[in-house]
């Protein structure tokens, strides 16, 4: 074997040897966290006030619930527990809460139903076709807004009676309520979101899209929701909001992320860690609030669970 053959063989051998080795998901986030911790340690060594660097916040919560916060000291009987939760703790519990839910896999011809209340539409009921092929609608403020189905790339729009307009048939893209190929692992979710919405959650558009998804624009299986939270956990800059209410006035615990003046705030039930709603801020002012009241799968548009 001469030198060039040896080098060629060696390159091929190393290609084969390392082909399946990939950097773990979240490596960048972990590197940032470790770097921050090292800076922090150096800062402490240099005499930075400890109180200013305290991580985690104090949250009061009622006892009970399958995913009740871990207590740090034995509580007195009947007393409220005081625990420290970070944003990561909240999301970890949200993952467990999601996975504890039964997986209801919808059939293509069914509808996803949401009852929501938000700052734009007020109370609204939405029926969206699971695979996007059937006509759904939104009932809000006494009006019915059609969500026209798209079957085989075509949709037919029926004009309102008495409008004088004629029926239109046009090309379309289906807008399914349920995405069966939405990933169920954090790393795949990261790739999916990066492919569809940008390179990371630091992108405000991605944060906004996630709010929409969580709000109920898409029907998520428990594993998909858990993957979303798991991916979300790796995002730098998450903060916990110990006390916050959703748009329906329900008390919750929040996780926030600020990007370019826009703060997405996701609200979870403090006991069950089910998703409640959002309370977003833009330019320091509330920009959008929402609450998800009911989510279900039904057979027909207009049918309530």
């Amino acid at each position: 074997m001469n030198e060039s053959q040896l080098i060629e063989e060696l390159s091929a051998a190393l290609d084969a040897e390392a082909a399946t080795v990939r950097v773990p998901a979240g490596a960048a986030g972990r590197a940032r966290k470790r770097a921050h911790r090292r800076r922090l340690t150096r800062g402490l060594a240099a005499g930075v006030p400890v109180a200013a660097l305290a991580a985690g916040l104090v949250v009061a919560s009622a006892a009970g619930g399958p995913h009740a916060p871990v207590r740090q000291s034995a509580p007195k009987a009947g007393a409220a527990k005081t625990v420290r939760l970070t944003a990561v703790d909240v999301l970890d519990r949200a993952v467990a809460a999601a996975l504890a839910q039964p997986a209801v896999v919808p059939r293509p011809g069914q509808f996803a139903y949401w009852k929501t209340v938000d700052s734009v539409n007020g109370t609204a009921e939405t029926w969206r076709s699971v695979n996007g092929s059937r006509n759904g609608f939104v009932l809000s403020r006494g009006k019915k807004v059609m969500l026209w189905g798209c079957a085989d790339g075509w949709q037919t729009i029926q004009p309102d009676q008495g409008s004088g307009l004629t029926q239109i048939t046009q090309r379309c893209l289906a807008q399914p309520a349920y995405l069966p190929d939405l990933p169920v692992t954090a790393s795949e979710m990261q790739e999916y979101l990066a492919r569809n919405f940008g390179s990371g959650l630091q992108d405000a558009a991605v944060a906004q899209k996630l709010t929409e998804v969580l709000l109920g624009q898409d029907y998520l299986l428990p594993a998909q929701r858990a993957a979303l939270y798991r991916f979300f956990v790796t995002t730098p800059g998450l903060k916990v909001i110990p006390r916050i209410r959703d748009y329906a006035g329900r008390p919750g615990i929040g996780v926030s992320l600020t990007t370019d003046g826009f703060t997405a705030r996701w609200i979870f039930d403090p006991n069950t860690f089910a998703y409640l709603g959002s309370a977003d801020m833009a330019g320091g002012k509330p920009s959008f609030g929402s609450a998800v009241l009911t989510v279900a799968i039904v057979d027909e548009a207009g049918q309530r669970p």
Binding site: L10, V23, A28, R34, P236
Partner: protein, 172 residues
């Protein structure tokens, strides 16, 4: 500003992360250690992010150093045991000749001293020019050339000796 640098760092890891961990893996031969070394290298990189003009050579250098740190920390005895384990053949099973050849090459590479191994990998696998390797390793171009030459010679010797009959006593 910090957000923008985080985005740029994420993008850097997305683009170069696999290449860095593969470099770590071929240098240390252990997935867990490669992950640790890459994580350490990325952490060091992020601590200096924004102050380095060209982050890739710095990241490669950190990976090379981190794998060397692991190598040093693991201790000589453990090294000997691991190398012996790597050299010890399992029960003979029919395998593809090409796989056997590749395995021999990789094992021979791993028996090289860390510095020579790094030069070989960067020069012939990453196909980097000698001045850049010198910059990554903190050596002179002359040292890189001589290490590459010595390493190739040693690889050839190792492969030749691999073809010689095995003394069964070594494996008892």
């Amino acid at each position: 500003m910090r957000r923008k640098s985080s985005v740029a760092f994420d993008e850097f890891v997305r683009v170069h992360g696999d290449s860095l961990i593969r470099l770590a893996y071929v240098l240390c031969g252990d997935r867990g250690r490669a992950e640790d070394a890459t994580q350490e290298a990325l952490t060091r990189l992020y601590l200096r992010w924004g102050r380095i003009e060209d982050p890739l050579p710095y990241a490669r250098r950190s990976v090379v150093n981190a794998t060397n740190d692991h190598w040093r920390r693991s201790g000589r005895r453990e090294q000997r045991e691991r190398l012996a384990a790597q050299q010890r053949p399992d029960l003979p099973v029919p395998v593809d000749d090409q796989i056997v050849d590749r395995d021999r090459l990789v094992q021979a590479l791993r028996r090289l001293p860390h510095g020579q191994r790094a030069v070989i990998v960067l020069r012939y696998w990453h196909q980097l020019p000698e001045p850049e390797i010198a910059r990554i390793l903190g050596n002179s171009v002359g040292t890189v050339k001589s290490q590459a030459s010595r390493a190739l010679g040693r690889l050839r010797d190792e492969l030749r000796s691999d073809l010689m009959p095995v003394n069964p006593r070594e494996y008892r």
